[in-house]
Symmetry: C2
Subunit: 448 residues, 2 copies
């Protein structure tokens, strides 16, 4: 079960300067009906991610249980949309100490930071490791660089049988990785061509790693399906959670000047959910000079770091809290504590956590900072499936509000091309000239 | 050695709409001379953190080596300014796998998330654990709650000798923790009363944990001293790194509308540095409707998540990159790689990482997004000491620019008081009434 409480975003609660009027929300009704029908028609096309909850997961489940049987370590080599989803599922839906006590241990090689690479390598035993290389294009620099080194290590350590230690998740036809996999007979899963990286968590990109670490992916998809069902039926913004999230953020941004969207779960396990959402929100909607900057925070930790700014700094934020009602484990403050701190007596840690959230919300209301709260009865695959689908649809829907294409990322190419040029890749000579033209180091200060 | 390259913040490079004119920078000269002399006079008062590099660390070093000898686990119980600094030192200055292979293993109990508490407890052996309870006020809710449970566990497991497993870092006189420590004869270190939590990393707050995990704290202080020396002598904004950082950010914020400050290291180990800086920047300067929102990013990972937004979204950001020239370990892409990816051949991972940074910078210059780069020749205690002091002084200095007190955090109290009220603490009855007045749940949506 999930609940969305948006009382504190409304003008009734925090005033018209910062809050949204119910009339404003409702004024989007006709527009929404229009977008709604467009989305229904796009479900086989640009909104193809909406089809993922209905896929047959037999092959994924089968292969995952083979991996679980054969290997002790599962290392995902991928970055951005190819890793954030799996990382989010792993951190949200396994116990925090999974990698300490359970198998297969799960690691991600995303960056090309050599120390991170070495750190992961030190933790695994190559002979017992399955590497899942994930890239839609099949040629992402970081992924291919990490893969090239891993391939070399595998061949040296395992010999001919190295292929058994690899599984690729990539485009069904195109790209270097697919060609390499075909040539060498490596097990592969498809990323549906119509699904972009940041919308791909419910494809094999996220589901294979999730199944490998023991997450019930059928429950995950069940939650997503439930959300799809509700969002397909409900055209009314007050009853459609995805549209509601989208419109509230859009209004806060474009009519109240909130160019920052904070997401602040009060649960350690949900921090990676925020990283996943950051990409979704930023890369989909950050274009043509528009879009909100997503900011990651964590309760209660950031009460001691960011709340001063959120309450008393510029009025440029809308905050989403995520609250968890029931934790898997809980602890009680003992009875025999000193008098000075006796107000804590008998409370559980989760009670304190959630009362701190309430206290923070009250303080924000008082400062008229718009905030909404998503409450989960517990962190489980069903609820996370609902949230994933809700935010994906809210993002796709927001594209219509902002009048931009939420499924492209044109501004990312430029930096890649400069990098290719700097690495001496063929065909990028002109880009290198452009770089030399642009890049100077004139104003500098050095301290020995 | 650290280098600051701010060429790409200047109007010469990215134009006057987004870039700073050299005249603007220089126009602060007289103002800075004035602030400079004020700071020199405040060094024994509000700017007391400037004295920390000169402290005698004998007692800390001695006690740290006792802890290293006696214990296998060192758990810091603290939050915000009491934990972020130590966490930053630990993550920046020990090997990424320290906790996998080295002793004492270091953990932080900051949050009151019960699952995190249990996760840490599962990883340690109580008999071999030293708990460092850190709170300036001596009564921080999260810290006291976690401590109360730990104390109970200690008494049950260890019995009378539980005291040997505790060391407190707190105000030399005031607060519950100091009183408790006095009463029960527990080893304690002082937090200088004139140093606020977020400026306390170079006191025992950060230095004791750092020394325990084997960091050379003399080198750390040496770097800080070096930075203090330069910043005490140089009144010219172009030669004083702290003032330069402060003025550039201030101008970007107040004259170019950049209400967001991104910090994006290209090094895994520096991510916790960003968390430390986030608190410093946000809590010090986020007041009276002013201040920039600090945003944490990581290269290259966030090229695949945030760069689309940074380049093509709203022009509301100034970005600080942190670059590392030499990593402790490095790897080379092997020679025998497929033709399609041969451009990677022979490059090291750190080369690729830093060329991606260069490519990203060139793309940002092209989009006229202001960005500066701090380059470290390597990640070592001396350089980190310089950075810490530089950002602390830049923050204190910025208080004068914004005309706010960078050392208080008045907006944090409100939420705490509501929380006390909700927990039934004596004397907060009226606050509870106020809460009931303020807090409603009217606009809700629930999905089963």
């Amino acid at each position: 079960m999930i609940k969305i409480d948006y009382t504190n975003v409304m003008a009734e609660t925090i005033g018209e300067r910062d809050g949204i009027l119910r009339e404003e929300l409702l004024s989007f009704r006709h527009f929404i009906v229009d977008i709604h029908s467009k989305i229904q028609k796009e479900k086989e096309k640009k909104f193809f991610f909406t089809k993922l909850p209905y896929q047959d997961t037999y092959e994924i489940e089968e292969y995952a249980s083979y991996i679980r049987k054969e290997f002790d370590y599962f290392v995902l080599i991928g970055i951005g949309g190819s890793s954030l989803g799996a990382q989010m599922l792993f951190e949200s839906l396994t116990w925090l100490n999974h990698n300490h006590f359970d198998f297969p241990k799960f690691y991600v090689l995303d960056n090309v930071d050599p120390e991170k690479f070495e750190a992961v390598m030190e933790r695994i035993e190559i002979e017992k490791t399955c590497f899942n290389v994930v890239t839609k294009s099949g040629s992402t620099v970081e992924t291919i660089a990490n893969f090239a080194i891993v391939l070399d290590i595998l061949k040296q350590t395992i010999g001919k049988d190295y292929k058994k230690h690899l599984v690729f998740t990539t485009d069904p036809e195109k790209g270097f990785l697919r060609a390499f996999g075909n040539e060498h007979g490596i097990k592969m899963f498809d990323i549906p061509p119509k699904v972009g990286g940041r919308f791909s968590v419910l494809s094999a990109v996220g589901l294979l790693p999730a199944a490998v670490v023991g997450i019930k992916i059928d429950q995950l998809l069940k939650g997503a399906k439930k959300m799809d069902l509700i969002c397909s039926i409900e055209e009314h913004v007050e009853h459609n959670p995805a549209y509601l999230i989208a419109v509230l953020h859009y209004l806060a941004n474009m009519r109240r000047g909130k160019n920052i969207a904070v997401m602040m779960p009060y649960a350690q396990r949900l921090t990676a959910f925020v990283d996943w959402w950051r990409q979704l929100w930023a890369e989909s909607l950050g274009k043509d000079g528009l879009g909100q900057t997503p900011v990651k925070a964590l309760g209660t930790v950031d009460q001691h770091s960011q709340i001063q700014l959120y309450r008393d700094g510029p009025r440029d934020k809308i905050i989403t809290f995520i609250q968890v009602e029931n934790f898997e484990r809980d602890l009680k403050i003992p009875e025999n504590i000193p008098e000075e701190i006796s107000y804590l007596k008998g409370h559980t840690l989760s009670e304190i956590l959630n009362k701190e959230l309430l206290g923070t919300k009250a303080a924000l209301i008082k400062s008229k900072i718009p905030n909404l709260t998503i409450t989960l009865d517990e962190i489980n695959p069903y609820n996370i499936g609902m949230l994933i689908y809700m935010y994906e649809l809210a993002t796709g829907f927001s594209g219509y509000l902002y009048k931009i294409d939420p499924f492209d990322q044109p501004a990312v190419e430029e930096g890649k091309n400069f990098t290719y040029a700097l690495m001496g890749r063929e065909g990028f000579q002109q880009k290198l000239e452009e770089f030399k033209e642009l890049y100077k180091e004139k104003y500098k200060l050095e301290i020995q």
